[in-house]
Subunit: 280 residues, 2 copies
Amino acid sequence: MRPDTLGVVGLGAVGGSLAWQASLAGVPRVVGFSPRPAEGVAAVRAGAVTDLAPSIRFLCERADVVILATPPAATFQLLPRVARDLRAGALCTDVLLVKGRVAAAAGAAGLAGRFAGSHPAVSFARSGFAGAEPAAFRRALVYVTPVGTDDIAAREIADCWSSVFEADPVVLDPDDHDAVVAWTRHLPFVATALVARACAVHGPRGVTYGQEARDVTRGAMVPVDVARDVLLLNREAILAALDDLEETLGSFQQALRAGNTAALETWLTEASTWRRRLEP
Amino acid sequence: MRPDTLGVVGLGAVGGSLAWQASLAGVPRVVGFSPRPAEGVAAVRAGAVTDLAPSIRFLCERADVVILATPPAATFQLLPRVARDLRAGALCTDVLLVKGRVAAAAGAAGLAGRFAGSHPAVSFARSGFAGAEPAAFRRALVYVTPVGTDDIAAREIADCWSSVFEADPVVLDPDDHDAVVAWTRHLPFVATALVARACAVHGPRGVTYGQEARDVTRGAMVPVDVARDVLLLNREAILAALDDLEETLGSFQQALRAGNTAALETWLTEASTWRRRLEP
Protein backbone atom coordinates (compact mmCIF):
# COMPACT_ATOMS: atom_id res chain seq x y z
CA MET A 1 0.00 0.00 0.00
CA ARG A 2 0.96 3.60 -0.60
CA PRO A 3 -0.07 5.66 2.46
CA ASP A 4 -1.74 9.06 2.44
CA THR A 5 -0.31 9.62 5.88
CA LEU A 6 2.97 8.01 6.87
CA GLY A 7 3.94 8.07 10.55
CA VAL A 8 7.62 7.71 11.43
CA VAL A 9 8.54 7.22 15.08
CA GLY A 10 12.20 8.14 15.58
CA LEU A 11 13.92 10.67 13.32
CA GLY A 12 17.48 9.39 13.51
CA ALA A 13 19.45 8.32 10.44
CA VAL A 14 17.00 5.53 9.53
CA GLY A 15 13.71 7.24 10.45
CA GLY A 16 14.88 10.60 9.15
CA SER A 17 15.85 9.05 5.81
CA LEU A 18 12.52 7.21 5.55
CA ALA A 19 10.50 10.34 6.26
CA TRP A 20 12.59 12.42 3.88
CA GLN A 21 12.39 9.93 1.04
CA ALA A 22 8.60 9.55 1.52
CA SER A 23 8.16 13.35 1.43
CA LEU A 24 10.18 13.59 -1.77
CA ALA A 25 8.20 10.67 -3.23
CA GLY A 26 5.01 12.70 -2.83
CA VAL A 27 3.38 11.08 0.21
CA PRO A 28 0.91 13.88 1.14
CA ARG A 29 1.45 13.82 4.92
CA VAL A 30 4.59 12.56 6.62
CA VAL A 31 4.16 12.83 10.38
CA GLY A 32 7.27 12.42 12.47
CA PHE A 33 7.81 11.90 16.16
CA SER A 34 11.10 12.23 17.98
CA PRO A 35 11.74 12.27 21.72
CA ARG A 36 14.53 14.75 20.90
CA PRO A 37 13.10 18.16 19.95
CA ALA A 38 16.24 19.14 18.00
CA GLU A 39 15.88 16.12 15.68
CA GLY A 40 12.28 17.09 14.97
CA VAL A 41 13.25 20.67 14.17
CA ALA A 42 16.06 19.47 11.87
CA ALA A 43 13.61 17.14 10.07
CA VAL A 44 11.08 19.97 9.55
CA ARG A 45 13.77 22.35 8.28
CA ALA A 46 15.03 19.75 5.79
CA GLY A 47 11.48 19.18 4.54
CA ALA A 48 11.74 15.54 5.64
CA VAL A 49 8.40 15.67 7.50
CA THR A 50 5.25 17.66 6.82
CA ASP A 51 4.16 17.54 10.50
CA LEU A 52 5.59 16.75 13.88
CA ALA A 53 3.39 14.71 16.23
CA PRO A 54 3.19 15.84 19.86
CA SER A 55 2.88 12.19 20.95
CA ILE A 56 3.14 8.70 19.55
CA ARG A 57 -0.58 8.26 20.23
CA PHE A 58 -1.33 11.33 18.07
CA LEU A 59 0.79 9.83 15.29
CA CYS A 60 -0.82 6.36 15.53
CA GLU A 61 -4.31 7.84 15.39
CA ARG A 62 -3.59 9.54 12.06
CA ALA A 63 -1.19 7.39 10.04
CA ASP A 64 -2.07 4.71 7.48
CA VAL A 65 1.37 3.23 7.93
CA VAL A 66 3.45 3.59 11.09
CA ILE A 67 7.17 2.86 10.93
CA LEU A 68 8.92 2.35 14.25
CA ALA A 69 12.46 3.53 13.50
CA THR A 70 13.52 3.11 17.10
CA PRO A 71 16.20 1.10 18.97
CA PRO A 72 15.37 -2.43 20.20
CA ALA A 73 14.23 -1.64 23.76
CA ALA A 74 12.00 1.24 22.62
CA THR A 75 10.54 -0.84 19.79
CA PHE A 76 9.52 -3.66 22.13
CA GLN A 77 8.01 -1.12 24.56
CA LEU A 78 6.04 0.60 21.80
CA LEU A 79 4.39 -2.47 20.25
CA PRO A 80 1.54 -2.73 22.84
CA ARG A 81 0.93 1.04 22.64
CA VAL A 82 0.75 0.89 18.85
CA ALA A 83 -1.65 -2.09 19.13
CA ARG A 84 -3.92 0.08 21.28
CA ASP A 85 -3.72 3.34 19.30
CA LEU A 86 -3.37 2.29 15.65
CA ARG A 87 -6.40 3.32 13.63
CA ALA A 88 -8.57 0.72 11.87
CA GLY A 89 -7.06 -0.52 8.59
CA ALA A 90 -3.63 0.96 9.35
CA LEU A 91 -0.42 -1.05 9.35
CA CYS A 92 2.78 -0.95 11.36
CA THR A 93 6.34 -2.10 10.77
CA ASP A 94 9.72 -1.74 12.47
CA VAL A 95 13.33 -1.65 11.25
CA LEU A 96 15.20 -3.82 13.77
CA LEU A 97 17.99 -6.04 12.45
CA VAL A 98 16.59 -9.22 14.02
CA LYS A 99 13.00 -10.30 13.32
CA GLY A 100 11.93 -13.43 15.22
CA ARG A 101 11.47 -11.73 18.58
CA VAL A 102 9.76 -8.73 16.99
CA ALA A 103 7.23 -11.01 15.29
CA ALA A 104 6.62 -12.81 18.58
CA ALA A 105 6.21 -9.53 20.49
CA ALA A 106 3.91 -8.06 17.84
CA GLY A 107 1.76 -11.19 17.93
CA ALA A 108 1.65 -11.11 21.74
CA ALA A 109 0.67 -7.41 21.61
CA GLY A 110 -2.32 -8.26 19.42
CA LEU A 111 -0.88 -6.76 16.23
CA ALA A 112 -1.39 -9.88 14.07
CA GLY A 113 -2.99 -8.76 10.79
CA ARG A 114 -1.72 -5.20 11.29
CA PHE A 115 2.03 -5.70 11.53
CA ALA A 116 4.93 -7.12 9.56
CA GLY A 117 8.58 -6.62 10.47
CA SER A 118 11.12 -4.98 8.15
CA HIS A 119 14.88 -5.18 7.99
CA PRO A 120 16.25 -2.74 5.43
CA ALA A 121 19.85 -3.76 4.63
CA VAL A 122 21.13 -0.20 4.67
CA SER A 123 23.79 1.20 6.95
CA PHE A 124 24.54 4.79 7.78
CA ALA A 125 27.90 6.39 8.45
CA ARG A 126 26.47 8.87 10.98
CA SER A 127 23.70 8.52 13.55
CA GLY A 128 20.91 11.02 14.24
CA PHE A 129 18.99 13.07 11.69
CA ALA A 130 22.36 14.55 10.64
CA GLY A 131 23.09 11.12 9.13
CA ALA A 132 19.80 10.92 7.20
CA GLU A 133 19.97 10.61 3.41
CA PRO A 134 16.95 11.30 1.17
CA ALA A 135 17.57 8.37 -1.21
CA ALA A 136 19.00 5.83 1.22
CA PHE A 137 16.53 3.03 0.51
CA ARG A 138 16.43 3.20 -3.26
CA ARG A 139 17.37 -0.26 -4.62
CA ALA A 140 18.02 -1.46 -1.08
CA LEU A 141 17.31 -5.05 -0.11
CA VAL A 142 14.55 -5.06 2.55
CA TYR A 143 13.50 -8.23 4.33
CA VAL A 144 9.80 -8.17 5.28
CA THR A 145 8.75 -10.74 7.87
CA PRO A 146 5.12 -11.75 8.64
CA VAL A 147 3.63 -12.32 12.08
CA GLY A 148 2.59 -15.96 12.24
CA THR A 149 0.95 -17.12 9.03
CA ASP A 150 -0.41 -13.67 8.09
CA ASP A 151 0.96 -12.86 4.67
CA ILE A 152 -1.47 -10.06 3.81
CA ALA A 153 0.01 -7.37 6.06
CA ALA A 154 3.49 -8.49 4.96
CA ARG A 155 2.58 -8.07 1.30
CA GLU A 156 1.13 -4.61 1.98
CA ILE A 157 4.26 -3.54 3.85
CA ALA A 158 6.46 -4.98 1.09
CA ASP A 159 4.42 -3.02 -1.45
CA CYS A 160 4.95 0.15 0.61
CA TRP A 161 8.73 -0.44 0.50
CA SER A 162 8.71 -0.75 -3.27
CA SER A 163 6.12 1.89 -4.17
CA VAL A 164 7.20 4.64 -1.75
CA PHE A 165 10.86 3.86 -1.14
CA GLU A 166 11.82 2.17 -4.44
CA ALA A 167 13.40 -0.59 -2.38
CA ASP A 168 13.57 -4.29 -3.24
CA PRO A 169 11.55 -6.13 -0.58
CA VAL A 170 11.78 -9.88 0.02
CA VAL A 171 9.11 -11.52 2.19
CA LEU A 172 10.68 -14.12 4.46
CA ASP A 173 9.71 -16.04 7.60
CA PRO A 174 11.21 -14.16 10.60
CA ASP A 175 13.10 -17.17 11.95
CA ASP A 176 14.48 -17.96 8.49
CA HIS A 177 15.52 -14.31 8.28
CA ASP A 178 17.35 -14.54 11.59
CA ALA A 179 19.14 -17.72 10.56
CA VAL A 180 20.27 -16.02 7.34
CA VAL A 181 21.56 -12.82 8.98
CA ALA A 182 23.28 -14.89 11.67
CA TRP A 183 25.47 -16.06 8.76
CA THR A 184 25.55 -13.06 6.46
CA ARG A 185 26.00 -10.33 9.08
CA HIS A 186 26.46 -11.54 12.64
CA LEU A 187 29.04 -14.27 12.10
CA PRO A 188 31.34 -11.93 10.13
CA PHE A 189 30.98 -9.36 12.90
CA VAL A 190 31.77 -11.87 15.64
CA ALA A 191 34.86 -13.04 13.70
CA THR A 192 36.03 -9.45 13.32
CA ALA A 193 35.55 -8.75 17.00
CA LEU A 194 37.12 -12.11 17.85
CA VAL A 195 40.42 -11.17 16.22
CA ALA A 196 40.37 -7.71 17.82
CA ARG A 197 39.55 -9.09 21.28
CA ALA A 198 42.17 -11.87 21.00
CA CYS A 199 44.80 -9.29 19.99
CA ALA A 200 43.69 -6.98 22.83
CA VAL A 201 43.91 -9.64 25.52
CA HIS A 202 46.51 -12.13 24.26
CA GLY A 203 48.48 -10.38 21.51
CA PRO A 204 52.06 -9.07 21.75
CA ARG A 205 52.51 -5.46 22.87
CA GLY A 206 54.07 -2.65 20.89
CA VAL A 207 53.91 -4.32 17.49
CA THR A 208 52.70 -2.94 14.17
CA TYR A 209 49.47 -4.30 12.72
CA GLY A 210 49.37 -3.87 8.95
CA GLN A 211 46.60 -3.23 6.47
CA GLU A 212 45.16 -6.76 6.42
CA ALA A 213 44.74 -6.82 10.21
CA ARG A 214 43.14 -3.38 10.11
CA ASP A 215 40.76 -4.47 7.36
CA VAL A 216 39.77 -7.69 9.09
CA THR A 217 39.07 -5.98 12.43
CA ARG A 218 37.46 -2.75 11.15
CA GLY A 219 33.97 -4.08 11.96
CA ALA A 220 34.88 -4.23 15.66
CA MET A 221 34.38 -0.45 15.80
CA VAL A 222 30.58 -0.86 15.67
CA PRO A 223 29.13 0.80 18.80
CA VAL A 224 29.13 -1.72 21.65
CA ASP A 225 25.46 -1.13 22.58
CA VAL A 226 24.28 -1.74 19.00
CA ALA A 227 26.33 -4.93 18.71
CA ARG A 228 25.25 -6.19 22.13
CA ASP A 229 21.52 -5.70 21.36
CA VAL A 230 21.71 -7.47 18.01
CA LEU A 231 23.74 -10.36 19.37
CA LEU A 232 21.36 -10.92 22.27
CA LEU A 233 18.29 -10.64 20.03
CA ASN A 234 19.64 -13.28 17.65
CA ARG A 235 21.37 -15.41 20.25
CA GLU A 236 20.20 -18.89 19.23
CA ALA A 237 20.92 -18.54 15.52
CA ILE A 238 24.33 -16.97 16.19
CA LEU A 239 25.28 -19.70 18.66
CA ALA A 240 24.35 -22.32 16.06
CA ALA A 241 26.52 -20.59 13.43
CA LEU A 242 29.37 -20.30 15.95
CA ASP A 243 29.26 -24.04 16.52
CA ASP A 244 29.96 -24.42 12.81
CA LEU A 245 32.73 -21.79 13.00
CA GLU A 246 34.29 -23.66 15.91
CA GLU A 247 34.21 -26.92 13.97
CA THR A 248 35.81 -25.14 11.01
CA LEU A 249 38.55 -23.78 13.28
CA GLY A 250 39.08 -27.28 14.64
CA SER A 251 39.55 -28.77 11.19
CA PHE A 252 42.07 -26.05 10.36
CA GLN A 253 44.03 -26.57 13.57
CA GLN A 254 44.07 -30.31 12.98
CA ALA A 255 45.39 -29.97 9.41
CA LEU A 256 48.04 -27.43 10.43
CA ARG A 257 49.15 -29.32 13.54
CA ALA A 258 49.60 -32.49 11.48
CA GLY A 259 51.36 -30.55 8.71
CA ASN A 260 48.78 -32.14 6.41
CA THR A 261 49.47 -30.19 3.23
CA ALA A 262 46.65 -31.79 1.23
CA ALA A 263 44.01 -31.18 3.93
CA LEU A 264 45.24 -27.61 4.36
CA GLU A 265 45.05 -26.98 0.61
CA THR A 266 41.50 -28.35 0.42
CA TRP A 267 40.42 -26.22 3.37
CA LEU A 268 42.02 -23.06 1.94
CA THR A 269 40.61 -23.77 -1.51
CA GLU A 270 37.08 -24.09 -0.12
CA ALA A 271 37.48 -20.69 1.57
CA SER A 272 39.06 -19.03 -1.44
CA THR A 273 36.61 -20.46 -4.00
CA TRP A 274 33.62 -19.32 -1.94
CA ARG A 275 35.03 -15.82 -1.59
CA ARG A 276 35.99 -15.46 -5.26
CA ARG A 277 32.38 -16.20 -6.21
CA LEU A 278 31.30 -13.23 -4.07
CA GLU A 279 33.48 -10.73 -5.96
CA PRO A 280 34.24 -7.92 -5.51
CA MET B 1 76.69 -1.87 3.44
CA ARG B 2 76.05 -0.35 0.05
CA PRO B 3 77.03 -2.92 -2.61
CA ASP B 4 78.96 -2.21 -5.81
CA THR B 5 77.35 -5.29 -7.28
CA LEU B 6 73.89 -6.37 -6.15
CA GLY B 7 72.69 -9.82 -7.17
CA VAL B 8 68.96 -10.48 -7.26
CA VAL B 9 67.76 -14.06 -7.74
CA GLY B 10 64.18 -14.02 -8.95
CA LEU B 11 62.80 -11.09 -10.96
CA GLY B 12 59.14 -11.28 -9.97
CA ALA B 13 57.30 -8.40 -8.30
CA VAL B 14 59.57 -8.40 -5.23
CA GLY B 15 62.90 -9.15 -6.91
CA GLY B 16 62.08 -6.99 -9.91
CA SER B 17 61.24 -4.05 -7.67
CA LEU B 18 64.41 -4.51 -5.63
CA ALA B 19 66.63 -4.62 -8.71
CA TRP B 20 64.86 -1.65 -10.27
CA GLN B 21 65.05 0.49 -7.14
CA ALA B 22 68.75 -0.35 -6.67
CA SER B 23 69.50 0.59 -10.29
CA LEU B 24 67.72 3.91 -9.88
CA ALA B 25 69.55 4.46 -6.57
CA GLY B 26 72.86 4.29 -8.45
CA VAL B 27 74.16 0.83 -7.52
CA PRO B 28 76.77 0.40 -10.32
CA ARG B 29 75.99 -3.22 -11.21
CA VAL B 30 72.65 -4.92 -10.59
CA VAL B 31 72.86 -8.52 -11.74
CA GLY B 32 69.58 -10.39 -12.06
CA PHE B 33 68.79 -14.05 -12.48
CA SER B 34 65.43 -15.46 -13.43
CA PRO B 35 64.54 -19.02 -14.43
CA ARG B 36 61.99 -17.41 -16.78
CA PRO B 37 63.74 -15.77 -19.76
CA ALA B 38 60.80 -13.41 -20.43
CA GLU B 39 61.10 -11.92 -16.92
CA GLY B 40 64.82 -11.30 -17.47
CA VAL B 41 64.16 -9.57 -20.79
CA ALA B 42 61.43 -7.41 -19.24
CA ALA B 43 63.80 -6.42 -16.41
CA VAL B 44 66.56 -5.46 -18.86
CA ARG B 45 64.18 -3.45 -21.03
CA ALA B 46 62.87 -1.54 -17.98
CA GLY B 47 66.43 -0.76 -16.90
CA ALA B 48 65.84 -2.67 -13.68
CA VAL B 49 69.04 -4.71 -14.05
CA THR B 50 72.40 -3.83 -15.62
CA ASP B 51 73.21 -7.50 -16.33
CA LEU B 52 71.52 -10.86 -16.48
CA ALA B 53 73.39 -13.79 -14.94
CA PRO B 54 73.46 -17.06 -16.91
CA SER B 55 73.41 -19.00 -13.62
CA ILE B 56 72.99 -18.47 -9.92
CA ARG B 57 76.61 -19.51 -9.45
CA PHE B 58 77.73 -16.75 -11.85
CA LEU B 59 75.68 -14.25 -9.84
CA CYS B 60 76.99 -15.45 -6.46
CA GLU B 61 80.60 -15.25 -7.63
CA ARG B 62 80.21 -11.56 -8.53
CA ALA B 63 77.79 -9.91 -6.08
CA ASP B 64 78.64 -8.15 -2.81
CA VAL B 65 75.06 -8.66 -1.68
CA VAL B 66 72.81 -11.47 -2.95
CA ILE B 67 69.08 -11.21 -2.42
CA LEU B 68 67.07 -14.39 -2.84
CA ALA B 69 63.68 -13.09 -4.00
CA THR B 70 62.37 -16.60 -4.54
CA PRO B 71 59.43 -18.66 -3.22
CA PRO B 72 59.92 -20.75 -0.06
CA ALA B 73 60.89 -24.10 -1.62
CA ALA B 74 63.40 -22.48 -4.00
CA THR B 75 64.86 -20.37 -1.21
CA PHE B 76 65.53 -23.38 1.01
CA GLN B 77 67.07 -25.26 -1.94
CA LEU B 78 69.34 -22.33 -2.82
CA LEU B 79 70.85 -21.69 0.61
CA PRO B 80 73.49 -24.51 0.40
CA ARG B 81 74.40 -23.45 -3.16
CA VAL B 82 74.81 -19.84 -2.06
CA ALA B 83 76.96 -21.01 0.88
CA ARG B 84 79.23 -22.76 -1.60
CA ASP B 85 79.42 -20.05 -4.27
CA LEU B 86 79.22 -16.74 -2.39
CA ARG B 87 82.46 -14.78 -2.73
CA ALA B 88 84.50 -13.88 0.36
CA GLY B 89 83.11 -10.90 2.27
CA ALA B 90 79.77 -10.98 0.45
CA LEU B 91 76.42 -11.20 2.22
CA CYS B 92 73.11 -12.86 1.42
CA THR B 93 69.53 -12.28 2.48
CA ASP B 94 66.07 -13.57 1.51
CA VAL B 95 62.57 -12.10 1.51
CA LEU B 96 60.37 -14.90 2.89
CA LEU B 97 57.52 -13.92 5.21
CA VAL B 98 58.59 -16.34 7.97
CA LYS B 99 62.11 -16.19 9.39
CA GLY B 100 62.81 -18.88 12.03
CA ARG B 101 63.19 -21.73 9.57
CA VAL B 102 65.22 -19.62 7.17
CA ALA B 103 67.67 -18.73 9.94
CA ALA B 104 67.94 -22.39 10.91
CA ALA B 105 68.47 -23.48 7.29
CA ALA B 106 71.04 -20.73 6.65
CA GLY B 107 72.92 -21.75 9.78
CA ALA B 108 72.83 -25.43 8.78
CA ALA B 109 74.09 -24.50 5.29
CA GLY B 110 77.14 -22.82 6.83
CA LEU B 111 76.02 -19.27 6.06
CA ALA B 112 76.43 -17.96 9.64
CA GLY B 113 78.30 -14.66 9.47
CA ARG B 114 77.26 -14.20 5.82
CA PHE B 115 73.48 -14.24 6.01
CA ALA B 116 70.61 -12.44 7.70
CA GLY B 117 66.94 -12.89 6.79
CA SER B 118 64.71 -10.06 5.62
CA HIS B 119 60.95 -9.66 5.63
CA PRO B 120 59.93 -6.48 3.84
CA ALA B 121 56.33 -5.65 4.79
CA VAL B 122 55.32 -4.74 1.26
CA SER B 123 52.64 -6.40 -0.81
CA PHE B 124 52.12 -6.29 -4.54
CA ALA B 125 48.87 -6.30 -6.44
CA ARG B 126 50.32 -8.27 -9.39
CA SER B 127 52.88 -11.03 -9.51
CA GLY B 128 55.79 -11.33 -11.92
CA PHE B 129 58.03 -8.53 -13.17
CA ALA B 130 54.88 -6.89 -14.55
CA GLY B 131 53.97 -6.19 -10.90
CA ALA B 132 57.34 -4.62 -10.04
CA GLU B 133 57.40 -1.01 -8.83
CA PRO B 134 60.59 1.07 -8.78
CA ALA B 135 59.90 2.72 -5.39
CA ALA B 136 58.13 -0.12 -3.61
CA PHE B 137 60.43 -0.31 -0.59
CA ARG B 138 60.77 3.39 0.17
CA ARG B 139 59.68 3.93 3.82
CA ALA B 140 58.68 0.26 4.07
CA LEU B 141 59.05 -1.59 7.35
CA VAL B 142 61.62 -4.38 6.86
CA TYR B 143 62.32 -6.96 9.56
CA VAL B 144 65.95 -8.15 9.48
CA THR B 145 66.64 -11.36 11.39
CA PRO B 146 70.12 -12.63 12.41
CA VAL B 147 71.34 -16.21 12.19
CA GLY B 148 72.10 -17.32 15.76
CA THR B 149 73.87 -14.60 17.75
CA ASP B 150 75.52 -12.99 14.73
CA ASP B 151 74.43 -9.38 14.70
CA ILE B 152 77.13 -8.09 12.35
CA ALA B 153 75.71 -9.49 9.11
CA ALA B 154 72.23 -8.41 10.25
CA ARG B 155 73.41 -4.85 10.80
CA GLU B 156 75.07 -4.81 7.37
CA ILE B 157 71.92 -6.10 5.69
CA ALA B 158 69.78 -3.60 7.62
CA ASP B 159 72.12 -0.84 6.48
CA CYS B 160 71.72 -2.02 2.88
CA TRP B 161 67.90 -1.75 3.24
CA SER B 162 68.15 1.82 4.47
CA SER B 163 71.00 3.10 2.29
CA VAL B 164 69.98 1.51 -1.03
CA PHE B 165 66.23 1.03 -0.64
CA GLU B 166 65.36 3.90 1.74
CA ALA B 167 63.44 1.36 3.81
CA ASP B 168 63.04 1.33 7.61
CA PRO B 169 64.74 -1.85 8.84
CA VAL B 170 64.17 -3.31 12.32
CA VAL B 171 66.56 -6.02 13.53
CA LEU B 172 64.67 -8.73 15.39
CA ASP B 173 65.28 -12.30 16.55
CA PRO B 174 63.76 -14.63 13.90
CA ASP B 175 61.58 -16.51 16.38
CA ASP B 176 60.36 -13.26 17.91
CA HIS B 177 59.59 -12.09 14.36
CA ASP B 178 57.57 -15.21 13.68
CA ALA B 179 55.60 -14.86 16.93
CA VAL B 180 54.78 -11.25 16.02
CA VAL B 181 53.64 -11.96 12.45
CA ALA B 182 51.62 -14.93 13.69
CA TRP B 183 49.52 -12.26 15.43
CA THR B 184 49.78 -9.29 13.09
CA ARG B 185 49.38 -11.13 9.77
CA HIS B 186 48.64 -14.83 10.03
CA LEU B 187 45.90 -14.80 12.67
CA PRO B 188 43.87 -12.15 10.77
CA PHE B 189 44.27 -14.22 7.61
CA VAL B 190 43.15 -17.43 9.31
CA ALA B 191 40.10 -15.62 10.76
CA THR B 192 39.21 -14.29 7.32
CA ALA B 193 39.53 -17.72 5.75
CA LEU B 194 37.69 -19.25 8.70
CA VAL B 195 34.56 -17.21 8.01
CA ALA B 196 34.76 -17.91 4.28
CA ARG B 197 35.28 -21.65 4.78
CA ALA B 198 32.50 -21.87 7.39
CA CYS B 199 30.11 -20.08 5.00
CA ALA B 200 31.22 -22.34 2.14
CA VAL B 201 30.67 -25.58 4.02
CA HIS B 202 27.97 -24.79 6.60
CA GLY B 203 26.28 -21.55 5.49
CA PRO B 204 22.81 -21.21 3.97
CA ARG B 205 22.54 -21.39 0.17
CA GLY B 206 21.31 -18.67 -2.16
CA VAL B 207 21.55 -15.80 0.32
CA THR B 208 23.03 -12.34 -0.11
CA TYR B 209 26.23 -11.49 1.75
CA GLY B 210 26.57 -7.74 2.28
CA GLN B 211 29.50 -5.38 2.44
CA GLU B 212 30.68 -6.32 5.94
CA ALA B 213 30.88 -10.01 5.07
CA ARG B 214 32.74 -9.18 1.86
CA ASP B 215 35.18 -6.96 3.72
CA VAL B 216 35.83 -9.50 6.46
CA THR B 217 36.47 -12.35 4.01
CA ARG B 218 38.37 -10.44 1.30
CA GLY B 219 41.71 -11.80 2.58
CA ALA B 220 40.58 -15.35 1.74
CA MET B 221 41.34 -14.60 -1.92
CA VAL B 222 45.11 -14.85 -1.28
CA PRO B 223 46.49 -17.57 -3.59
CA VAL B 224 46.17 -20.94 -1.86
CA ASP B 225 49.80 -21.97 -2.47
CA VAL B 226 51.15 -18.76 -0.92
CA ALA B 227 48.89 -19.09 2.13
CA ARG B 228 49.70 -22.79 2.55
CA ASP B 229 53.47 -22.19 2.48
CA VAL B 230 53.36 -19.37 5.00
CA LEU B 231 51.05 -21.24 7.36
CA LEU B 232 53.21 -24.37 7.30
CA LEU B 233 56.42 -22.36 7.76
CA ASN B 234 55.03 -20.60 10.84
CA ARG B 235 53.01 -23.49 12.16
CA GLU B 236 53.97 -23.45 15.84
CA ALA B 237 53.49 -19.72 16.38
CA ILE B 238 50.17 -19.75 14.51
CA LEU B 239 48.89 -22.73 16.48
CA ALA B 240 49.76 -20.92 19.72
CA ALA B 241 47.88 -17.80 18.59
CA LEU B 242 44.93 -19.96 17.52
CA ASP B 243 44.73 -21.45 21.01
CA ASP B 244 44.21 -17.90 22.25
CA LEU B 245 41.64 -17.25 19.51
CA GLU B 246 39.79 -20.41 20.51
CA GLU B 247 39.74 -19.34 24.15
CA THR B 248 38.43 -15.92 23.09
CA LEU B 249 35.68 -17.59 21.05
CA GLY B 250 34.82 -19.74 24.07
CA SER B 251 34.44 -16.73 26.35
CA PHE B 252 32.17 -15.08 23.78
CA GLN B 253 30.00 -18.17 23.38
CA GLN B 254 29.71 -18.51 27.15
CA ALA B 255 28.61 -14.88 27.62
CA LEU B 256 26.12 -15.05 24.76
CA ARG B 257 24.69 -18.44 25.75
CA ALA B 258 24.12 -17.19 29.31
CA GLY B 259 22.66 -13.92 28.02
CA ASN B 260 25.26 -12.27 30.28
CA THR B 261 24.89 -8.67 29.13
CA ALA B 262 27.69 -7.32 31.34
CA ALA B 263 30.21 -9.96 30.23
CA LEU B 264 29.22 -9.43 26.60
CA GLU B 265 29.67 -5.65 26.93
CA THR B 266 33.10 -6.06 28.51
CA TRP B 267 34.17 -8.47 25.77
CA LEU B 268 32.89 -6.20 22.99
CA THR B 269 34.43 -3.13 24.61
CA GLU B 270 37.86 -4.81 24.76
CA ALA B 271 37.61 -5.58 21.04
CA SER B 272 36.31 -2.15 20.09
CA THR B 273 38.80 -0.20 22.25
CA TRP B 274 41.73 -2.12 20.80
CA ARG B 275 40.56 -1.50 17.25
CA ARG B 276 39.84 2.20 17.76
CA ARG B 277 43.44 2.69 18.92
CA LEU B 278 44.61 1.26 15.57
CA GLU B 279 42.72 3.89 13.52
CA PRO B 280 42.13 4.12 10.65
